[in-house]
Symmetry: C2
Subunit: 342 residues, 2 copies
């Protein structure tokens, strides 16, 4: 035989019709066990694999998911948000488990996502990670909804768009981590991380932070909140700005671990001892957090569970089953940078 074997080749050898081969290979109950076994045996001998393009074309379903990664606008070319990277493993594995292939793509915000993947029948649904600026992103989400493209995303739930989002309880996380510091005697807080409509997750963390302060009878000082997008460099610069306020500080709550690495760097440069003089806490629990000196206390988002859930929900959506948003609990991971045990 030249070229790849087709279902016709198998049919010929098995002495049955091509339709029967197709049914047998997909374990249709319409085929007798004996016939099925014979056909599957021959298929194995011929190293036969169903042609994906033909079956997808005919059945109008690709059993492929597309993962779209959006980068933060300022991040360097080769750097992907490490938190998303850590989701990749479980997303890939879960896809494999459910029999889906996974297309991965870095997206520019100006592309037409729906046409690129869904309209061309490359993928049955989309997983969205990250977004750059949230406002532009929201407009894109509306497009997807309009085209009734099945998709799920990691991020904050929104009332304004009817989408399935999976995110962690950022408000609770911000509260949790701040409350821990207060309980251990910290009183003068700074906060580093962008707080505006373009970054709803950072904002929720900040609001949780403020809530903890209020409940403890402390006051959030807006002057001690400095914006930073998700980079080490921004964290470094924002910290210098914060210190320039010349206010007493014994703790800095940071909106992400990546930013926190820059905070630690700035404090070290200024000779401020962490955690003795100033506690620092991050958010995410990316791999790096274990290696900083002092090791970073942070708020873990379970990226493995998140990846599995994103895939599961998307597949449900594709099958037309009802799905709900998921809101994951965060977990306080105490290391050295907050100066407490446990």
């Amino acid at each position: 035989m030249k070229g790849k074997a087709t279902s016709f080749d198998i049919a010929y050898r098995a002495g049955v019709s091509q339709s029967t081969v197709s049914r047998a290979l997909r374990n249709s109950p319409l085929v007798s066990e004996k016939t099925r076994e014979k056909i599957q045996q021959i298929a194995k001998e011929l190293n036969y694999t169903v042609d994906k393009n033909a079956s997808s074309l005919r059945s109008q379903t690709s059993t492929t998911l597309a993962l779209l990664l959006f980068e933060d606008p300022t991040s360097d070319d080769s750097l992907v948000n490490p938190f998303f990277l850590s989701m990749l493993g479980s997303i890939t594995r879960e896809c494999g488990k459910l029999g889906y292939d996974l297309l991965v793509s870095f997206q520019e915000l100006d592309a037409d996502w729906h046409s690129v993947f869904k309209d061309s029948n490359k993928a049955d649904g989309l997983i969205l990670l990250g977004y750059g600026d949230y406002l532009d992103y929201e407009a894109k989400l509306r497009e997807l909804v309009k085209h009734s493209t099945p998709f799920v995303r990691w991020g904050a739930a929104t009332k304004s768009i009817d989408t399935c989002s999976i995110g962690c309880d950022n408000f609770h996380g911000g509260w949790q981590i701040t409350e821990h510091l207060i309980k251990h005697g910290r009183k003068q807080f700074g906060f580093i991380g962008a707080v505006h409509d373009g970054a709803p997750e950072f904002r929720a963390r900040y609001e949780g932070h403020c809530e903890a302060l209020t409940r403890a009878g402390l006051e959030a000082n807006a002057q001690l909140q400095k914006n930073a997008v998700n980079t080490e460099e921004d964290g470094f610069n924002a910290t210098l700005q914060l210190l320039a306020e010349n206010q007493p500080l014994d703790a800095i709550v940071v909106a992400s671990d990546l930013i926190a690495t820059g905070v630690l760097k700035a404090l070290e440069q200024k000779g401020i001892k962490v955690p003795e003089q100033c506690a620092v806490v991050g958010f995410d629990d990316v791999p790096i957090a274990r290696y900083t000196k002092p090791a970073l206390t942070t708020c873990r988002q379970d990226s493995t569970a998140a990846g599995v859930m994103l895939v599961d929900k998307l597949v449900q959506l594709i099958k037309g089953e009802p799905v709900t948003d998921a809101f994951m609990k965060t977990k306080l991971i105490v290391r050295e940078s907050c100066g407490t045990q446990q």
Copy 2:
């Protein structure tokens, strides 16, 4: 119109045949400019996208590449080798640039790679990253060659198999980093990293290391080489074994950064000051290397360039163009853990 627009819909509106539409959309010179423009205009209005499955089926080419990631046997479920992760960005981007889609998959060593991706026409070629044990891997490579599946891989070149591999000059890297330490007065070396046929890259680094010692009139002491696979934990344990030899040591050359984090941890636990009492150097320059304390001196493999090259070579291979192995230069990155400037 219900459902997605097809080339027939466009043909109808443009008053031409469907064949002409197909040609016009692919910028065939066989179509007059006027007709082409008209057709492309209508396509845009209808939000038309070529059906990937139909075009792939008909043309027998998918313009899709598959990235197969193999995990080290011992690594935990959600953890992917950070060095490979850092290639992912540039691989994805380069694929986009060349108009290819990218399927990503974690592979078990027992799967039939060719049938899974190439024989089913899901992908035109394969990119292989990592391998667990090299001997099993080699057998798999032979299979691919036998099925004439186009593929490229990151790793050491082999004479025994006719494949396109892209790797760094591990021997030179091992030499370079050791030579640097010798030049700065270190004399008593340990080496941590698996040195056997199952890990040819680590072995090459070790051989380069030994070569540098020999040239300097020093002697490599096999007793001071301890095996470790690519994990922090293994690095930690191997270091304890090394120290238990009770031999004088003023430098440890480590086969990877990930292992080196475990080495640093063990030394800290034993109260051995890095770099004052003992220098430590890694290999790879993964993101974590900048954050350890002391920051890790290491040998950089340019993952961005590597990713681009892997994609470019694979596409050449698919097009039937001749390709050659690539051997990238390593770069010494001096940080704090070796105790020298520059």
